[in-house]
């Protein structure tokens, strides 16, 4: 398990670096998928096959939509990313890195406890946890998604004058 864990971790880091250094937005997206794959493998090795599968299903679909947006926004030929676009994400990344280093360096006992507790979580246990103690969180997420859905519908609705015949009529 350790070897595959290390391989998956290294692949995740390398792929994430490639996401940042790629100038072509579509290539960056491809590396983002690879990075998410590596994370899915990590999840699987940590005993959460359900989360691993969902990670691939959900993110693969999500990034596909992102791909369409990249093509629509930038045009098929010139999907270039300006280096300046990375300033904000880098700051956030540095904050996360600092947090991780702090946990590993100054609270190794806590980190060790988390890593040591590896045991399989079945999809049933996950479902019971989500619809039991974390029900409020799930409902809030559902509210957010519904708001997003309504917003997208509002933005995407047709602005045609009422005199035109409706399509399909």
């Amino acid at each position: 398990m350790n070897v595959s864990f290390i391989v998956a971790g290294v692949v995740a880091i390398l792929a994430t670096v490639m996401v940042i250094v790629q100038r072509n937005a579509v290539h960056a997206l491809l590396y983002l998928i690879v990075s998410l794959f590596a994370l899915a493998v990590t999840m699987f090795l940590l005993g959460a096959p359900f989360v691993a599968a969902l990670e691939v299903i959900v993110y693969a679909g999500a990034i596909m939509v992102l791909f369409v947006f990249v093509v629509m926004m930038t045009g098929a030929e010139s999907s270039r990313v300006e280096p300046r676009a990375w300033i904000g994400p880098s700051i956030l990344g540095i904050v996360l890195l600092a947090e991780l280093s702090w946990v590993l360096l100054f609270a190794p006992a806590a980190a060790g406890r988390v890593v040591g507790q590896v045991k399989g979580v079945s999809s049933k246990e996950l479902g019971i946890a989500l619809l039991g103690p974390y029900l409020v969180g799930v409902e809030i997420a559902a509210f957010l998604l519904l708001a997003g859905l309504v917003g997208a519908y509002h933005l995407g609705r047709r602005h045609s004058p009422p005199s035109l015949p409706k399509e399909g009529a």
């Binding site: 691939v56 596909m64 939509v65 791909f67």
Partner: protein
């Protein structure tokens, strides 16, 4: 059996089966259209596909100068890898399965959502307008149809209580799921047609408007991968239908593995006959059909199944 040997045998077996499916399609389509189809090479034309493969392998491995080379080469590989990987969780008979994953069904869904990348990236990397239009159409179609493909299967999962495909087959000993989950079966079948981009869902490669859609710029071996990938996909969806709704290897008299092959072949032939008989809809009709009819149907089926399972459990 050694798992590595088994995996190799599985991959080659499936590729041969897919080549056989190509022959079935060409002969059956010919039958529908009152032609003979390929009948010269070998008995009944069975070796025709081998001849085609040899021809296509000896062609020049050409990449258009305006294409994005790396992605252009990767795209056809993705479809082969994802479709073949899906077979890892499909039980061909009792004990004949590469990996009886606890989340087998989710693995299949994950792989089928990755297959979209192949088509989309092929369309983008070709850097030509027909290919790009085909790729974008494929994304819209496959992402939409994937949503209720997953939901249509949840009824089966509810009745079984497991995502494992072996458990799903074992749960059908008394009654095949095509009876209690008839709605789920119909929705999955239609979504499966859309996922394999077959007529009537072949808008990504509609030849009357987009030349050949996403694989316009492809030739030689890379085209062959798309072509064979389509037939491996048909085999995959057929075997998934058999596993989920028609009892997998279960059946009287014949050995289990043979039952599985016979049932899969039946659905392959249904796929071919559908191609021979249906026209191609407009794109907005296709998306509207998916979201306005299939999606609510799948949801209603899920709610009804959930209610009944809950009521029976009380």
């Amino acid at each position: 059996m050694n798992p590595v040997l088994f995996a190799i045998a599985l991959v080659f077996g499936i590729l041969f089966f897919a080549a056989f499916v190509i022959w079935i399609e060409r002969r059956f389509l010919a039958l529908v259209q009152e032609r003979y189809g390929p009948n010269r090479v070998g008995p009944l034309g069975l070796v025709q596909v081998i001849a085609d493969i040899i021809k296509i392998l000896t062609k020049e491995n050409w990449i258009p100068p305006f294409a994005d080379k790396g992605v252009f080469v990767i795209a056809p590989m993705i479809i082969m890898v994802t479709v073949l990987a899906s077979f890892a969780v499909i039980p061909l008979g009792p004990g004949i399965v590469a990996s009886d994953l606890d989340v087998g069904l989710l693995f299949f869904l994950a792989m089928s959502s990755l297959a979209v990348y192949s088509v989309a990236l092929a369309g983008w990397a070709s850097n030509s307008k027909f290919a790009l239009l085909g790729g974008i159409r494929a994304v819209g179609q496959m992402v939409s149809y994937e949503v209720f493909m997953g939901i249509s299967l949840l009824g089966v999962v509810l009745q079984t209580g497991s995502f494992s495909l072996v458990a799903i087959i074992e749960a059908q000993r008394r009654l095949w799921f095509c009876v209690p989950q008839f709605v789920g079966f119909v929705v999955f079948f239609i979504a499966g047609l859309a996922e394999t981009r077959r007529i009537p869902f072949d808008l990504p490669e509609a030849e009357s408007e987009l030349v050949a859609g996403y694989h316009t710029e492809y030739s030689g071996f890379k085209f062959a991968m798309f072509y064979l990938g389509e037939y491996v996909g048909i085999t995959l969806i057929s075997s998934m239908i058999v596993v989920l709704f028609f009892g997998g290897w279960l059946g009287p008299w014949l050995p289990p593995f043979l039952w599985f092959v016979v049932k899969t072949l039946f659905f392959v032939v249904v796929f071919v006959l559908i191609r021979g008989s249906l026209p191609r809809p407009r794109y907005d009709q296709l998306i509207g059909f998916g979201w306005k009819l299939m999606f609510p149907l799948a949801l209603a089926n899920l709610v009804a199944t959930g209610g009944i399972v809950l009521a029976l459990a009380r």
